[in-house]
Symmetry: C2
Subunit: 217 residues, 2 copies
DNA sequence: GTCTATAAACAGATAGAC
DNA sequence: GTCTATCTGTTTATAGAC
């Protein structure tokens, strides 16, 4: 008579997980509520019951992403105590982790996939994810960048340079079909990802160097 | 009795133009054939008649894009005759042109918008656009890059570096909502685009420098 | 909270007149 | 080549039994 033996667990969470996965794989418009209900082993009407409709499920997915990611942010702490060299190294580590997360095991990472779809779509979901994730992440990274280069904090140049670095990573994920065709890579494993990572890290170091010189002149 | 006075011009081209615009604005799945027919001032059944269906229209749009872009490629000619300095300068010009095209007048540029959607979607359309556009463009740019840096032609490093540069530009377009929120830019005019362009060109120069040193060691 | 049944609107496609 | 009319299937949403 344990509580977890009861047959009818709420379908709330399974629906969010299925929505996250299917919206990410095929896009919001190409995914039907029937597919989601089937994948979540739930009834179609459960979507309306729990979330008020398909759009409600989308927003619930976004809130789930924001909540999940907020717990990750604590990683970027104690930035003030670092030397410029440490800050540069930490930037490299973060970029490296981003590359590994986005390019390796592309099928398993539902949250990045969902986020990338919504970034391109650029609608209400950004209002949920932006203040809870992008803004704090960008602020932390900006502090690291400032620490590493000596540039003015919160200047447009710092933020844009940061976006340029992140953009390279995002692009290799979003346009991976094109990249892999051009390079004639059949499959993408750790070796290929390592090659991409080293290019991006080289660019990061080069950009940091230029930024340092620029701020010390 | 001039020929262009006849009431019934073919709806073939208007349908492609409407498809290009609407697929680009809202995505393929979110656009209905009725919307397209309305926008093209044509009958719904004209889509089946001319293209065999909605998917046929999508491919016809892709072929139209490929055809339009092929004429642009002639710009990149006579690369072999350039000095390294000229090659680097030409790369800067091309990147600059790409920034201007993608970031300025975002609502008017239907072809880039359609292409960006299809890049993310990554299906059969790429088979049409890739060999006719991306591959020749990338080959020409690779030659410029090799000329500018002295790196090995057709090495993975050259192609990936190139993708990294292009990726920054694409990212600023695809994720412009996020970038502009972070920078608190209300609208994006020539001044803002100029700022983005200078960051990207600075990165390009820094990357070229590093690549040059790497190949001469 | 979950189910069945069904409503109401919409999708893409097509037959056939002109 | 374009039109009207309609078919067939699917979509999201909901009413109501349990």
């Amino acid at each position: 008579m344990a509580r977890n033996e009861q047959k009818s667990k709420s379908t709330h969470d399974p629906l969010i997980n299925a929505g996250l996965r299917l919206f990410g794989e095929s896009g919001y418009d190409a995914t039907s509520t029937r597919q989601i209900a089937l994948a979540a082993d739930a009834n179609i009407s459960a979507i309306s019951y729990h979330f008020g409709g398909k759009e409600g499920l989308r927003l619930a997915c976004a809130e789930n992403v924001a909540k999940t990611l907020t717990t990750t942010i604590t990683t970027f702490a104690a930035i003030e105590s670092q030397t410029p060299e440490e800050a540069a190294l930490e930037l490299e580590h973060i970029v490296s982790a981003l590359v590994q997360m986005l390019l390796l095991q592309p099928q398993a990472k539902t949250i990045p996939q969902f986020m990338l779809r919504e970034i391109v779509q650029a609608e209400e979901v950004l209002d949920i994810i932006f203040p809870n994730f992008f803004e704090p992440i960008h602020k932390s990274l900006s502090q690291l960048w400032v620490r590493a280069t000596g540039q003015d904090a919160n200047s447009d140049a710092v933020m844009l340079s940061l976006f340029a670095v992140v953009g390279q990573v995002i692009y290799f994920r979003v346009s991976r079909e094109i990249v892999y065709r051009r390079l004639k890579w059949d499959s993408v494993g750790p070796t290929e990802v390592q090659t991409v990572e080293s290019i991006i890290l080289t660019n990061l170091r080069a950009t940091l160097e230029v930024a340092k010189k620029g701020s010390s002149q």
